[in-house]
Symmetry: C2
Subunit: 242 residues, 2 copies
């Protein structure tokens, strides 16, 4: 039997180059949307509704009983209640609740994958690396590792995560995709200390977030399998796949 | 004084994200357009006119005295005289002549950079790596390393060349660009034997060209400084910069 194909899309602006239909799309926004999503679901959030603007987040907050969250420039956005750090969502706080989260890069990619007819959309981060890999291996379908990037520019951390997935599951897939090989090589260079790799390379997001005093957040988002659930995007909501 | 900025654009489909105006754009199409361009100019070609279709190439061939060249699927395209291998353009053949070359990825990027108002457009390949680096260092202007890619998908060889340039000149530039850091790391992994790196990673272009029996061409295109001229795109023509 032919192996399914795996591709890495380094930016949402390149998604049109790939055949999204009949494909599982893994949305990757390591710093910090998909890390926060994994954490909140791991800690028992009922569901997460990702929205692409602060306005929509505020509006939804007036319509349903939920927690509204999101940041702009490293601060909780005016009008919202919480930020975009995993540390804000312990079980004691988030269990059973609905989280409405505004993110820019990640939400946009979720919507694009949906519009293009993906079979399934899941989210990936280092916090749930194994859950993603186990699932992709079991499904035996074509996969696109979709990096949310930063304003469409490829970034180091999302590329690293794509490389981590590839390193784990490549034997089960046909990979005729240079971006995947680039990601895998980058991950193998960085894996022993991804934080130091980000720092040494002055990764733009490292630079941005440390400027806001968020070193601890970055370190957490580079920790493997500490919130090992599989978030799936169904009917406009992210839920923990059973 | 502030250092000028350097960016790496991994695909023409991402060029709109960068500020092309007042910038030197280095068009990179290692396999094989910009390698052939460097070789032909190094061997004395009067000028090279890049065109984006076989039809335009044939048409120009009826209008001016020139050599028409280009390939499709590893073969000389029907209606044209020569192919896209450096080995076809020794000094004894090409000196003083006009070469009309049809390429797809590289020519398109040249036209895009021109349309977006680049200050200067030059072409880069491993064959003229030093000439590119010396020039960029001397000019002290903002730089975009523009990878021609393959049908807009990032590729290994163009990314490697961007990384080679960055490795050589990074001290003279401000680099706040993750794609540049990715390229630099990839080059440093591969530099000791880029051919083996391409092979080990089953680079898509390596795969495609070896399928046409072009291993020798690939090896040549990964050889540093053997056609060390600076091709500049002026008035629709590539000429050797004095």
């Amino acid at each position: 039997m032919n192996k399914p194909a795996l591709y890495t899309c380094l930016s949402p602006a390149l998604l049109h180059l790939y055949d999204v239909k009949n494909t599982i799309v893994v949305v990757i926004d390591v710093l910090r949307a998909t890390s926060t999503i994994a954490t909140a679901l791991y800690n028992g959030a009922k569901e997460i509704i990702p929205v692409d603007s602060v306005e929509k987040c505020i509006q939804l907050g007036t319509q349903i009983e939920c927690i509204t969250a999101g940041e702009r420039d490293g601060q909780i956005a005016p009008g919202l209640q919480y930020g975009n750090s995993s540390f804000e969502y312990p079980e004691t706080f988030i269990k059973g609740k609905i989280l409405v989260l505004t993110t820019t890069n990640g939400t946009r990619l979720l919507h694009m994958a949906l519009a293009k007819g993906a079979t399934e959309i899941i989210t990936g981060s280092f916090l749930n690396l194994s859950a993603v890999c186990v699932h992709l291996t079991a499904m035996k379908k074509n996969v696109i590792l979709g990096c949310a990037a930063w304003k469409d520019k490829p970034n180091i951390e999302d590329t690293l995560f794509a490389g981590a997935v590839i390193t784990k599951i490549k034997e089960q897939f046909t990979i005729n995709c240079d971006a995947s090989h680039i990601a895998e090589n980058l991950y193998n260079l960085a894996k022993d200390d991804m934080y130091e790799f980000m720092k040494a390379n002055d990764a733009s997001h490292y630079h941005r977030l440390t400027g806001f005093g968020l070193e601890k957040d970055i370190r957490h988002c580079l920790t493997i399998d500490v919130a090992n659930v599989l978030p799936e995007y169904v009917g406009g909501k992210l839920v923990k796949q059973k």
